[in-house]
Each structure stands twice: as C-alpha cells, then as structure tokens.
C-alpha cells in the first residue's frame, strides 16, 4: 500500500492500518494510556467506549499528532508516525516525515473547529489545494460533491458562524473527507450539539460508514450509533483495553464487570 498513488482510496484488504506498540501517555502524575497495545485493520469501523478519562480521546489525539507519546511507537499503514527509521535506529521523526504519514488521517472534532475566516467552500478546499496540490477547480468540484453528500450543497458561500452546530459539523466531516484520508478519527462529534441536531450528523456518518471503505475510529457516547456502524468495539478503562469484540457481543453479553457497569450507566 505504500506505493499507492495518493488520490485513490485504499483497497480494503484487512491488513493492519494502525498499530500502537506499548504506548504510554502521561499528563503530569496521571497516566492516561498505560503500556497500550492496540491495532485496527484497514476498512474497519472501530468504536472506543469507556468512562471519561479512560484514554479514548488520547488515542485519537496521539494519532493526529496533537500530542506525543511518552513511550512506545505508533505505526500507520506500515510507517512510524512519531518516529523515523534511520539506518536501523529509531529516532524522533522530523516534521516533514510526520506530516506525510499524517496525511492518511483525517479528524472531526467535538467543537467542529471550522475556520471562521473562510467560507464553507474554502474551508473544504484549503488543504486539498495547499497540501495535496489539487487545482482550485478540481478541489472545488470535490468540495461541492462532498457538500451534496452531507446535505449542504446550498451552503458553499456561507460563513461557518451562519450555520447551525449540526451543519457546521457536517461541513467539518466534508472537510476531513476532502483529503481522502484512509482513516477518519471522530472525537465525540455529537457531544457539542443540541439534541435535535444529533440525528442529522449521525445519519451522514452512517451513510459514509455503510457506503465507503474508509477506516473509522470513533469515540462516542451514542451507543446505538456505535452498535449500528461498528465492526469492533473497544472498552477502555484506566488507560487499557479491558474488552474488545463485535458490538453484538460487547453490548449484549459483556464479559468484564467494568463493561457491564459502564453500559448499564449509559444505556
């Protein structure tokens, strides 16, 4: 897959796309991830659940290189994310290397994080033009298709502040998709939305999950959504995966006591 041209979607061959190898992350005294091994296969939709502070969001933020691991390594599509292999020795990666690997990853944030100084269309075309090197016309065509996909084809010229939270989040999804990432990270994407706007965003994501090959990593509290789109659910507690499996199993007959407690509290 390393030789693939950048603008085509990856084939779903079930190979390992993400691998955390003995990753530890601390914030001060608090160990958020504890010697974690974790992997996701290409094309899978994976949901991370667990009590807050259990390290789910930290996994996404490590993958997006918003934070760095204290120990351990992360591989994406066979390449080290925060390290570089220099003559057999593993050294901390330069910014250029990290940026190349990171291009395979897209992220949608809880707070949308659209650029308020740009119209909707430019929010979506900015990175394809300046990072992938697409022409403006190409990027705009792609952006319009994606806006249609998320049901906002008529909002090209709006500024983000003129949109509802749900609409902003759908633009943010389109913006992430415009980079044609192999992996999409969804960090509690409905948590900041008014209840009546949640369904529209989840519908869009369901649609993407069911119609594309894109690998998804979701942190969510929407258990019915998790059940619906996931191939695999990981239950986190205190920085470790305590249980993993298909959603039918995790939600219906969890093995671990902590999982049962957690699910009875949120369901």
């Amino acid at each position: 897959m390393a030789t693939e041209t950048p603008h085509t979607n990856p084939a779903v061959d079930g190979s390992e796309l993400i691998r955390f190898d003995r990753v530890t992350k601390r914030f001060g005294e608090n160990t958020v991830l504890d010697d974690l091994d974790f992997s996701v296969s290409s094309g899978k939709h994976v949901t991370l659940i667990g009590p807050s502070g259990s390290g789910k969001t930290t996994i996404l933020r490590l993958l997006m290189t918003l934070i760095k691991p204290d120990q351990g390594t992360i591989k994406v599509d066979g390449d080290y994310l925060t390290h570089e292999d220099r003559g057999g020795k593993l050294v901390e990666a330069g910014e250029k290397h990290t940026r190349e690997v990171r291009k395979k990853i897209g992220m949608v944030f809880q707070q949308f994080n659209l650029f308020p100084n740009m119209r909707v269309l430019r929010n979506i075309t900015e990175a394809p033009v300046h990072v992938l090197g697409l022409s403006k016309d190409e990027a705009e065509e792609r952006a319009r298709e994606l806006l249609d996909l998320v049901g906002l084809g008529d909002k090209c010229d709006a500024y983000p502040t003129q949109l509802s939270g749900g609409q902003q989040q759908r633009v943010a999804i389109a913006r992430a998709l415009a980079m044609r990432p192999q992996v999409m990270l969804l960090d509690e994407v409905t948590s900041a939305l008014d209840p009546e706007l949640v369904a529209g965003v989840l519908d869009v994501l369901r649609d993407i999950a069911h119609t594309t090959d894109i690998t998804m990593l979701c942190v969510t509290h929407e258990m019915s959504f998790a059940r619906d789109i996931s191939d695999e659910v990981f239950m986190f507690d205190s920085g470790r995966v305590i249980e993993a499996g298909p959603p039918e199993k995790i939600f219906s007959e969890p093995e671990h006591e902590r999982t049962r407690e957690f699910l009875s509290a949120v369901l």
Partner: protein, 216 residues
Amino acid sequence: MNWDWDVAKDFLPELGDGLLITLEATALGSVLAFALGLVWALAFRSPTRFVRWPVAAVVEFIRNTPLLVQLFFFYYVLPTWDIKFSALTTGVIALGLHYSTYTAEVYRAGIDGVPRGQWEAATALSLSRGRTWIAVILPQAIRRVVPALGNYVIAMLKDSPMLALIGVVDMLQKARAHGASSFEYIEPYTMVGIAFILIAYPASLLMRALERRLGH
C-alpha cells in the same frame, strides 16, 4: 490677545503643507510599526530561544526608552556611522520602530486569542506551518486587534510633532517657522491644535465603532 482672521488665512496654505507631512509621517510610521510588530510577535513564538530571548530584550529596551531619545539618537548618532537619511525618513523609522514594540504586544494578544482548536484543525489537515499562519491564524488574530492597532495610529499621529525637533517640516514646524518670522503665534498654534482634533477625534470614534462591531 486678538484673533486675526487675516493671519489665519495667511497661515492656512502652510498648515496644509505641514498637514501632508504629518499625515505622511503617521502613515509610513504606521506601516512600519504594523510590519515590524508582526515580525516581533512571530519571533516571540519562535521555537528556538536564541530568537525569542534577544528579540524580547530588544523590544523591551525600545519600549522602555523615550521616543524622543530614540529620535535624537537616530538623527545625530547614525550619521557619525555614515548612515544618512533625510529628517523625515529618520523620523518615520524612529516612530515606526518605537510603536512596533506596542503593536507586537497587540498582535501577541490577538494570536493568543485564537482558539487552540484552530491550530489542531490545521494540523489535522496537514497544513504547513507557514500556511497555518497565513490562512488560518493571522487573519483571525488581526481581525480582532484592528481597533487596538488603530488606537496606536492615533497615538502616533499625536506623537508626530516630535519630528519637528529634528527638522521635519510638519504642521508644528510650520507654526514655529511662521511665529519666528512674523511674531504671530495664536493663530498658527491654535490651528495646528484644531487640525489634530479634527483628525484624531473622528478617528477614535471610528475605532470605538469598529471595536463594537467586532464584538469586544
């Protein structure tokens, strides 16, 4: 003390000439202060302390010494090092450099005010550092500090008469020259004062309106 309209009328063309110089000095000084201030503000955020520390020291030094001292320094000392500028150019450099240390703080506040999520979104889209600054951070940072920058333009306008002391023929210098040759003082100086009010007051009202519009 009598106000003589004929004297006022005589002085008016000179006032106009001086006003153009005053505005020119303020405008060029502002451009310099805006540009240099941005350079300082970006240097404050440099990842290497070998950039951050010296810049911070120089900026503190310039901000905490009087503009007049800097003006005389540039005017009298630089030529002894064979660096020669016209009086106006020297004045503009001193004014712009001095005020750049204030605009740097303004930019810094504006940059700090951009939410962290904007940096994170730029990272998630793999935008380069330069592109992140140009397309995402600075447009938002500068937008929210426009009124504060404008207030420094007004302050520069009011400091610009100092340039008369190194021989720039601005409004004040015109009034001094007029008084020296004709012994008429009331009208020229009063008119200079009125000219400043007529520019500075509407400008400050404009800045206040801008501040309200930008939601501060």
